[in-house]
Amino acid sequence: MQPSDQVFVLLKDWIVGQSPIMLQPGVSILLTVVPILLVFPVLFALTTVLERKGLGRIQNRYGPNRVGFYGILQPMADAVKSLTKEDIVPASADRAVHFLAPLVLLAVAFVPYAVLPIGRNMVAANLDAGVLFFFAIGAISELSVFMAGWSSRNKYSLLGAMRAVAQMISYEVPLLLSSIAVIMAAGSLSTVEIVEKQAGFTGIFPHWYVLTPWGFAGFILFMIAATAETNRSPFDLPEGESEIIAGYYIEYSGFKFALFFLGEYLGMFAISGLGITLFLGGWSAPLPFLTWIPSWIWFFTKLLVIVVGFIWVRGTLPRLRMDQLMNFAWKFMLPMALVVVVAAGAWRFLPQGVTRWLVCSVFLAGAYVLLARGVETRNKIAKRTYRFAE
């Protein structure tokens, strides 16, 4: 193992070793938490400018290119702008809840990083039930969204919050079911152990779960559900600008609005990180001769790739309608996730070789084709006929 791989772990151990014995637990906790609190907000700043420039290019525009070199300092300008704006609380709002909602969202957005292995031996808390912990915390973000929507005393924010809760609860089911397939295969709820199971190679192929038929289907389902969980386009109904202006954070301005924004992106990174951990082998290298690159670089590379995917999808797809959203969740995502679980079980008990590849692929493809019929629009667009009064 190269020292570059473990540079942060060794550095932390060294600093902890230097500090007085009484303070060592505190220093250790501090050195674990503070980097997480620093790195991901910086990634957020980077992502906002990446997103705005990427969307601009998709729409044949330049995107922000004024602040700093090619607009790279745009997040600084945005931060200054949001800090200098007036913080407005509606007169009839529930002041305490209105104030707490962005804080709860932000706190909840940071907590799941505790169980994400960012690199080899780089995890804040190696819980035995890490995946369960992640989802348990993730469910609190629905509460904060509803707090924001309810306390604002605005019909649009309440509508947005209602939509958000309906959507997040609906998509949590396929999200959990698709990760259950991985938990079954790995035989553990610990994120660290799940990554270690995927870190080996057969020939040049890594043991990532995404490279199995059920893992591939599960990964697609997971990412679709993750998009819906983080309220990103095309599932951005809770904040659909054209319908309900800004949804649940309509009554937030200035820094509180920025906190919501930050919380939303942190949630996106966290769930992408879980997707990487479950399906894309976490910090492990994609090819055996690339293992000399430090593990944490691989994690962040995969994270950026997924974020670019999110931006790409956002620039491509229009927003869904509420009934389409619910139909998709319950008529397609949920049964498909159950099929993935069955396929993962079959994969485990079938003998290794071409047979199980064939069986699982045909099973999943068949289920996909059959379920897709259910969500596709039946009535084809035909020439409209008019009947006039006699």
Binding site: R57, Q59, W312, T316, A372
Partner: protein, 185 residues
Amino acid sequence: MLGVGIVKGLAETARNFFGSFVDKERLVTVQFPEERLPVSESARNFPFLIYDGDDKEQGLRCVACQICEKECPPRCITIEKSKDKKPDFVGKQQFYPAVFDIDVSVCMSCQICVEVCPFDAIRMDNAFELSTTDRFAALLWSKDKLSLPNEHYLAIHPTEAAEVEARRAEEKAQAEAKKQPPVAK
């Protein structure tokens, strides 16, 4: 088949994304302060007063008839007539505006003042970078700021200005012809 449309859409946006780096024709954005589109001849924003020659005071065409002040729908024009008179372009003695103010924060750019002016003295300018940090004094334009040379009018609205020039030349010639006979005798 579910998902085919999504893949097609993703391919389309990817083509746009990479195309915008390769093909400059795709980027239609004009980077404003550095690059500018030519201003159309028919562009109009706020009125200005025309003066002939070099002297702002002497050449001002306005005779303080106050028609524009009365016609202005939002009533943004304030005119005070002078006590004395000065000769206009045909040599006739006319009043002139001692004060001519336009409150451009009130002006709605309707161009009615231009249409009613019998002396071709007020016309629309096409300047649009007019932001100030002062909401009140800086938006009340006085006679001094409003007066612009005839050359400016010829430059921004050439077709319209040519008509005005022709008409004024004719008027002046007629006035000269009236004056001529007594001199000839």
